[in-house]
Subunit: 230 residues, 2 copies
């Protein structure tokens, strides 16, 4: 018996999210939500299952391992990376900026990018768009060029996100960051073992993340342009 009350007085059970038919898409969406909110460490099969009102082992009907789930997450992120523009240079720049933008919205992407070969449909579609925009170029140069831009973006985005996290970890604002890391570096430089580094850190203008990213990207695109039109 459910309770002492008669049916008439007893409230209906709270309508749990009806165990909607599962799908990879729903699973991946739930995982991404968790990762967006609390980082990649917050993505566990148990938590994903709970979010979907399902028992953990159920997920193994849709994925073979957690790694596959991460692959699906990355491919879902690639769905948002849609390079546009006229000419190879604009498209490559757009690819870079769009990837960076995606990593800003999904910081966990920085942890995953480049970690495994990306062969999902959306990643392939992104590749297709980019390669199609380079059709004037020597066919043997296309993959190296795209690969180089991708490599730069992956590395740059990783470092940028890593720095952002470190700042956040020391207390959210730049003041505390300076107060926490500054002294350490001060002491390190005070040893006199890193004179050149100390000079640069002291004297050079400190570019913000946007400019730093674009500057490195310009180096690369300039170099590509020089080799391509030769």
């Amino acid at each position: 018996m459910v309770s002492g009350m008669l049916v008439w007085e007893r409230p209906e059970p709270p309508d749990r999210p009806v165990p909607a038919p599962l799908s990879r898409e729903r699973i991946v969406r739930a995982a991404i939500q968790l990762a967006d909110a609390d980082g990649l460490d917050a993505v566990s099969l148990r938590k994903v299952a709970t979010a979907l009102d399902v028992r953990p082992m159920r997920l193994y009907g849709y994925i073979a391992s957690k790694e596959e789930l991460l692959d699906l997450m990355v491919d879902a992120a690639y769905a948002e990376i849609r390079p546009v523009g006229d000419g190879w240079r604009e498209v490559l720049r757009s690819l870079a900026e769009a990837t960076r933008h995606a990593a800003h919205e999904h910081e966990w992407l920085a942890d995953l990018l480049g970690g495994r070969p990306q062969l999902g449909p959306h990643a392939l579609a992104t590749g297709e768009t980019v390669v199609a925009a380079l059709d004037g170029i020597d066919v043997d140069a296309i993959m190296p060029v795209v690969g180089a831009v991708n490599a730069y973006v992956i590395g740059a985005v990783r470092r940028e996100i890593a720095e952002r996290r470190a700042e956040r970890a020391t207390g959210m604002d730049e003041k505390r960051w300076q107060a926490s890391l500054g002294p350490y570096l001060k002491r390190a430089f005070a040893t006199g073992r890193f004179p050149a580094l100390a000079t640069v850190v002291r004297d050079a203008a400190h570019l913000d993340a946007d400019h730093t990213f674009r500057m490195g990207l310009d180096f690369l695109l300039d170099g590509i342009e020089a080799r391509i039109s030769r």
Copy 2:
């Protein structure tokens, strides 16, 4: 009583590695050994402790968390990254090659590079060497230039190691790799959704990893050279 035998007949106990005084260096060396042998997932505080004939919690006298251990591992790897050469271009190229070389010897480095800011003494020393070699250059350009090269290296190395692992996972040799991934891509291309990609994969020369890395690096260094001497 230890056993029924008299001392005289009883063999001495096998000389366990004497619980030598612990140190960060010993801990890190043990962790690196594990990671070199079986990958980063094989590095657990319990396994490291066991390798040192010590109980796990003992390690927390030397490190505050596993993350710190990973930081120490990366810094230890930086000790092997010693760029050399005459002139900024050679030194930057050397930095890139040395980093790549280190990641080849310690594949786990690819998982860690760029994941957190590197401020250990060896990483700073590497930075010092590089920055010192760029002293002719506009001080405001130095950090962006070094950062761009580092970003490229991190991304390129990650992708290279990821590919290497994927190949290994399908059965060690290139034949099986072609047999496993080839058909998948064949089918993907057969859908006609990636015509440009398919054309390039079919027609282009496939560079080996060394050439691919150097080609991308040359793009970048060329672009840097153009901006610097201006």
